[in-house]
């Protein structure tokens, strides 16, 4: 009986590693959060396997019997569309002996047959065959048991973004996403049909560092000039040679430059910037007809925001980066010091060929371990992970930019988008506030505390 009590003690201790005292402008994260295997275990169990996580786009499985496989925390799952177009998210483990039922990344199958003893399931997860059942000398109770694949506790979708939860104790998806939806909309509504698709060609990579380095980096505008100095040099040189002019857009002079962020409930946040001179073009701005159609569809204010850099984090496992291209990236923690990333080029359905080609080139240019910018981030995470081993150095000072000025001057921006964020920040283009990390860490702490309260 000692073990659960020790576990509860650990969870309270783990939750306290996020030291959040807003009234004192104190926000600090103990280094253990990044390096301790016990913290990793707690995160997997009580965050990734206990709240809504993004699992895929509806458009990735467009036809009946299409499927893809992914993970929710440690759990392998099968996302499958059945005959009636209903999408199920099923634990990808045979009811008979636990074997991975579907070993493929994606495809189209009416039947998923386990390769071990050929128990078979349809595209809705219903068991349709237990071979040699009659001669199996099964006990009476066997016939009364359900043999279907297990559905995850909750499944929901927002405009094609599918989320699943292994715990039923979560808010409705609509409430979970809350006003962060406005920033998904800014990507989705770039499509004339209101649908997004991933461009074929998935890229997956790992880094030897904690997943929260990626979480933070996606909201960190401050690092750009230093970490990506070599990429900025390339962009400047291209601009001077005018080798790439497609898609460059201008803000109205009256807009005023700046860099800001909004934080929402349940851990979501977005950072954004308004710059008079951009160093890269965008597919939407590369085609005057496309741009005009978007303006008439959603209005000039929202198109203005579509053309601004926006890095959206949907806690705990999704970032949608909309810059020179759009990236859909998810992560899966493999250990305290190892993370697996999956990245897709995200695109509006119905995009003209030239804009699509520009989107793909820009995506390859910036993102992924083969790109000229994300590769620097990945290596930087590994440098951080190494540095975090210096336990005696105590707390880092990495959460304080913007701590004194939260909420300044963003009312106009929020109003344009019709959102009222839980917190907002705004400053000069060089601001790079760090307070937009807080929402995620507060949700992180809430979920660990919730688990601590439940532990027996």
């Amino acid at each position: 009986m000692n073990l659960p009590i020790r576990h509860r003690g650990n969870l309270h201790e783990i939750a306290a590693l996020v030291d959040d005292r807003p009234a004192e402008h104190i926000f600090q994260i103990d280094r253990r959060v990044f390096v301790d295997p016990q913290v990793y275990e707690a995160e997997i169990r009580h965050i990734f396997e206990a709240t809504w996580v993004f699992v895929g786009l509806e458009s990735q499985i467009p036809k009946p019997h299409d499927f893809l496989t992914t993970h929710i925390g440690r759990h392998p799952v099968l996302l499958s569309r059945d005959q009636d177009n209903k999408i199920s998210c099923l634990l990808n483990t045979c009811r008979h002996r636990g074997t991975l039922v579907c070993p493929f990344k994606s495809g189209n199958r009416k039947l998923h047959v386990c390769r071990y003893h050929a128990w078979s399931y349809d595209s809705a997860g219903r068991n349709v065959a237990i071979p040699e059942r009659a001669t199996g000398q099964y006990p009476d109770g066997f016939d009364h048991e359900n043999h279907d694949l297990i559905h995850v506790a909750r499944l929901g979708s927002y405009r094609g973004f599918i989320f699943a939860s292994l715990s039923a104790d979560v808010p409705a998806l609509d409430d979970f996403l809350g006003e962060a939806k406005a920033f998904l909309d800014l990507v989705i509504d770039q499509s004339p049909t209101g649908q997004l698709e991933v461009v074929p060609g998935e890229i997956s990579y790992t880094f030897d560092a904690n997943w929260k380095l990626q979480f933070e980096n996606g909201l960190d505008y401050y690092h750009f000039g230093a970490t990506h100095a070599s990429y900025v040099d390339i962009l400047k040189k291209r601009a001077s040679l005018a080798t790439s002019e497609a898609g460059f857009s201008k803000e109205a002079a009256s807009e005023g430059e700046g860099q800001g962020s909004f934080s929402f409930d349940h851990g979501h946040a977005v950072n954004w910037s308004i710059k008079q001179t951009t160093l890269y073009g965008r597919p939407l701005a590369s085609d005057p007809q496309l741009l005009q159609a978007a303006r008439s569809r959603v209005g000039p204010d929202r198109v203005k925001w579509m053309l601004r850099q926006r890095n959206l984090t949907i806690f705990p496992n999704l970032q949608v980066i909309d810059i020179s291209s759009a990236q859909l990236r998810t992560w899966r923690p493999l250990a305290a010091n190892k993370t697996e990333m999956v990245s897709h080029c995200l695109a509006p359905v119905g995009e003209p060929a030239a804009a699509r080609a520009l989107r793909i080139r820009n995506y390859e240019d910036f993102f992924n371990p083969t790109g000229l910018a994300s590769s620097d981030d990945n290596v930087m995470y590994e440098f951080c992970q190494s540095g975090y081993e210096a336990e005696q150095a105590g707390y880092t000072q990495g959460y304080l930019r913007g701590a004194a000025g939260a909420g300044i001057g963003t009312g106009r921006h929020a109003k344009e988008l019709g959102v009222s964020p839980a917190e907002s920040a705004f400053g000069a283009v060089s601001f790079g506030g760090e307070t937009n990390f807080y929402a995620g860490y507060r949700e992180w702490r809430r979920l660990i505390e919730r688990a601590a309260a439940k532990a027996i």
Binding site: G107, T206, F207, D233, P369, D376
Partner: protein, 163 residues
């Protein structure tokens, strides 16, 4: 030397330039309008086939893309090259797939051993090279290089020197 031997020697020279960080000599082996293409994988079996509608890991349709990559790691501003990993290219199974007075096409396998002197971690990238080499008077220049990377789950960073 036979044509096959000449082709193999050309591929070995390209590999040596990369391993020895002789970037100028390496990039000089490419035509200005060279295509350098590392497709992504569409699924377990097939790579992407059309760079205009599908994602590649790297796609450059001029030499400038390679020159930018060289400038980036030479700038001492990219952490991916601080320090630069040591590499060792091994090329095998060189075949001449086509030969005409204007160009030759080769296919070969590669294994690149990558060692990070900072962490002492090492990994190997392996796959196939498909070269289209144009004969320009006395010199040969790469018109197109397609690289099929077999193990495409990349540890943190992958650049032109590690494939």
């Amino acid at each position: 030397m036979t044509e096959l031997e000449q082709a193999a020697a050309f591929l070995f020279r390209e590999a040596r330039h990369l391993d020895m960080h002789e970037w100028d000599a390496w990039v000089a082996m490419y035509r200005k309008d060279a295509v350098y293409w590392l497709p992504a994988w569409r699924d377990e079996y097939q790579t992407t086939t059309d760079p205009q509608t599908e994602v590649s890991m790297i796609f450059h349709n001029t030499r400038l893309g390679l020159e930018e990559r060289i400038a980036r790691i030479e700038s001492r501003k990219s952490i991916t090259a601080l320090p630069l990993p040591r590499t060792l290219h091994q090329i095998g199974n060189v075949e001449l797939r086509a030969a005409s007075p204007a160009q030759i096409e080769t296919e070969a396998t590669f294994a690149v051993h990558v060692y990070d002197p900072r962490t002492a971690k090492e990994h190997t990238r392996f796959g196939r090279y498909q070269h289209v080499i144009s004969r320009e008077q006395e010199t040969w220049l790469i018109a197109k290089k397609k690289i099929i990377l077999v193990n495409d789950k990349v540890p943190a960073v992958l650049d032109f020197y590690s494939i």
